[in-house]
């Protein structure tokens, strides 16, 4: 029966700045191995939602359960432990600019997980190898291409053994020819059973892999459903409008 | 990465600071080491010699007294502006550095018996043909060392009473001499002893006094330090009765 408990449950998450509500009462539930994709126009609240999930932005209201346990005090050790279990990939990669690829992956293992340097290095090399960048491990971020940076950042997140990954438009800052190398890595994660929430404009990629699409606009979840429903038989007019536009722009091929 | 370089830098800095602290560490307060604050810009009474060792009429006098009375003394060059605050704050124990005994200073410190009578004079270029009165008029610029009795006296008794000249203040009397030679001031007021010292080394001459009564030099000590005061008084009297006093006068020609 434990399998039916969602790995992550979010209820009524709300964020406002002053009197501007940027996330309104968003709820979501995620089972192990699922991939849910947030779609919607830019500024619609996707990034805010993802960052609220691991408290990089403090939500004003809302409850979060991980593995059936509610995160009650998003502070101190409880917060740090929680964040280790929720890996995050950013649109702008956010690699630590002063560290090599290897040290980017290693630093969390040593300083957060408390591994010895040799253990951490072994693990970091393994993760870099998995994203195909073992031979680049001594390069600094400024010496890597955008796609390579994003793959290092995925390796960095995976090294922490997260239960869930949050991916905030992981390919938006990439040159078109570099997008597929990152999508391939994400596809591999998916087939290895990683639980993920991802925001993206790659509707084709999303429809191929996602269990569910969540359409977010003006901070509200407008509609949720399996890809074929959201893309072709959406109930809400706004969802249909957005999906037809985005399909036109990005096509529905998956890479 | 520049880690080695960084460590070398840190090491270097640490050595520099440690060296500085060691070099300047406070003398242990025991064993009767008294610190004499001097204005090392006041030859021939107090200055530092070629090797940086304090020297001068007052320095050698106090050294003799210390030996005679059985204590150790260390001469600490100080900024003249801060010398009485330093004495009051116990950073130094005495000032034997050509300090005039005045009522105003007596409010803050005690003085020994006078050991030197000093007149205040006007110094001008060696080829100057004017009188003191002519120098101190006509909007002329006249130099003086800041914070001295002559500076105060001139302000209160000449400038305030309408004498038509401009007083230019310097950090030290030798700097005023320098500006006389540069032609920036027509003359400077100072004690006659440093004036004579300057005359021996530079083309300047003493033009005469300017109406200020002569003053007495004494050693200053803290009000509560009566023991030291008595010791210095006794020492001074011995010194002035000894032949060494004449030797000092001969050597430094104050």
């Amino acid at each position: 029966m434990t399998d039916t408990i969602p790995i992550l449950r979010i209820e009524h998450m709300t964020k406002w700045y002053g009197d501007k509500e940027v996330l309104k009462d968003a709820s979501l539930s995620l089972n192990k191995g699922e991939l849910k994709v947030l779609i919607g126009p830019s500024g619609g609240g996707k990034s805010t939602f993802l960052q609220c999930i691991n408290f990089l932005i403090k939500p004003n209201r809302g409850r979060i359960w991980l593995d059936g346990r509610e995160i009650l005090r998003a502070k101190g050790k409880e917060l740090y432990d929680y964040r280790q279990k929720v890996g995050m990939i950013f649109q702008d990669f956010n690699l630590f600019d002063h560290l090599t690829a290897l040290h980017n992956v290693q630093i969390g293992l040593v300083r957060v997980k408390g591994l010895s340097r040799t253990e951490a290095k072994e693990r970091a090399v393994l993760e870099l190898d998995r994203v195909g960048l073992k031979s680049y491990m001594n390069q600094y971020p400024a010496e890597l291409s955008g796609g390579q940076k994003q793959r290092v950042s995925i390796a960095r997140a995976l090294a922490m053994d997260p239960e869930i990954m949050l991916l905030d438009e992981p390919t938006s800052a990439l040159d078109p020819e570099l997008i597929s190398e990152v999508l391939d890595v994400i596809r591999a994660l998916r087939s290895n059973g990683m639980t993920m929430i991802m925001s993206t404009h790659h509707i084709g990629f999303a429809s191929e892999l996602a269990d569910e699409l969540i359409f977010l606009e003006d901070g509200s979840i407008v509609e949720t459903g399996p890809p074929e429903k959201i893309l072709y038989r959406a109930e809400c007019a706004r969802t249909r409008e957005f999906c037809s536009k985005i399909t036109e722009m990005y096509g529905n091929s998956s890479s | 990465m520049g880690k080695k370089f960084l460590w070398a830098l840190i090491l270097l800095v640490a050595i520099a600071i440690a060296g500085g602290i060691y070099y300047f560490k406070e003398e242990p307060a025991s064993a009767k080491v008294y610190i004499n604050g001097i204005d090392a810009n006041f030859p021939p009474f107090a200055y530092v010699d070629k090797d940086g060792v304090p020297d001068g009429f007052d320095v050698k006098s106090v050294d003799w007294i210390a030996k005679e009375m059985g204590f150790t003394v260390k001469h600490q060059p100080m900024d003249w502006d801060g010398i009485i605050p330093s004495l009051v704050a116990k950073k130094i124990d005495m000032v034997a550095s050509g300090m005039s005994i005045t009522d105003k200073r007596k409010e803050q410190v005690n003085f020994t018996v006078p050991y030197w009578k000093i007149a205040q004079v006007i110094v001008a270029p060696a080829d100057c043909t004017k009188s003191v009165d002519e120098l101190l008029s006509g909007g002329n610029k006249v130099g003086v060392q800041r914070g001295t009795t002559e500076a105060n006296w001139i302000k209160e008794n000449l400038i305030a009473k309408g004498k038509d000249f401009e007083l230019v203040e310097y950090d030290s009397a030798p700097l005023a001499i320098e500006d006389i030679l540069n032609g920036r001031i027509v003359g400077a007021a100072m004690d006659d002893a440093p004036a004579k010292d300057a005359m021996r080394k530079k083309p300047v001459k003493i033009m005469g006094t300017f109406g200020m009564a002569s003053e007495d030099f004494g050693y200053a000590v803290r009000k509560e330090d009566t023991e030291l005061l008595n010791m210095m008084n006794a020492g001074l009297e011995k010194l002035m009765a000894s032949p060494y006093w004449w030797e000092l006068k001969e050597k430094y020609k104050p």
């Binding site: - | 370089f5 530092v48 060059p77 950090d171 001499i177």
Partner: protein
């Protein structure tokens, strides 16, 4: 002229020993400035409202009050009242250090704020506390960016250090003054002191430029 040179030559060892004093004062003050300055900068960027206000007052005070006044205030006032008997050298180092900290904190603060916000976010997302993320992620980058400003601050502290003579610290400038008073050769001696200050400025900024190059992140511009 020849006479001046002889005097200058004779005074050189004495002046050079003074330059060691100057170096010690400046090195000490810069170290205090770095340690206190970094703390102030971190407090000012990441601290709470009251901490930020207190730091702003600190910076305002130490930037606003003239150096000489601060030296006297600490030497004759504060430390004397507290019965802490520190030498003039130590007090000069501390006061110059605290002033430099105020200026350096603004250099570091600017550097920290110029870093992309994502750096701290990424560190937090890995489960790092800010207490770890700031020294491990933020400061190594911010300090690299601070080196040019730091080199500027070094030459200012170097020149300010001459004021330490007011307390009786026998640094380079004071010694030049002493020799000049004895010999009446002010110009050549001040000139020599000026040249020595220039050399120290050059060596310091050169050293910092080497440091900047050594710690430069490969491929990273600006």
């Amino acid at each position: 002229m020849a006479e001046s040179l002889v005097i200058l030559y004779g005074a050189l060892p004495y002046l050079l020993r003074g330059s060691l004093v100057t170096i010690a004062v400046v090195a000490g003050a810069m170290m205090i400035g770095v340690v206190v300055g970094i703390s102030l900068a971190v407090g000012q960027v990441y601290g709470g409202k009251w901490l930020r206000r207190m730091i702003a007052v600190y910076v305002w005070f130490f930037r606003g009050v003239p150096l000489l006044v601060l030296l006297f205030l600490f030497y004759f006032g504060l430390f004397s009242l507290l019965h802490i008997n520190l030498s003039a050298f130590t007090v000069s180092v501390i006061v110059l250090g605290l002033i430099s900290a105020a200026y350096q904190s603004q250099i570091f603060r600017g550097a920290i704020m110029s870093l992309p916000e994502g750096q701290l976010k990424a560190a937090r997302a890995l489960g790092m506390s800010d207490r770890k993320a700031i020294p491990l992620i933020i400061l190594p980058q911010a300090l690299r960016l601070s080196i040019p400003g730091w080199s500027n601050e070094y030459s200012i502290v170097l020149k300010d250090s001459a004021v330490a003579y007011a307390l009786g610290v026998m640094e380079m400038m004071a010694r030049a003054h002493f020799v000049a008073s004895r010999t009446y050769e002010h110009l050549p001696l001040y000139f020599a002191a000026g040249v020595m200050f220039l050399i120290l400025t050059y060596l310091g900024t050169k050293g910092l430029r080497i440091l900047e190059e050594k710690v430069r992140i490969p491929g990273y511009s600006s």
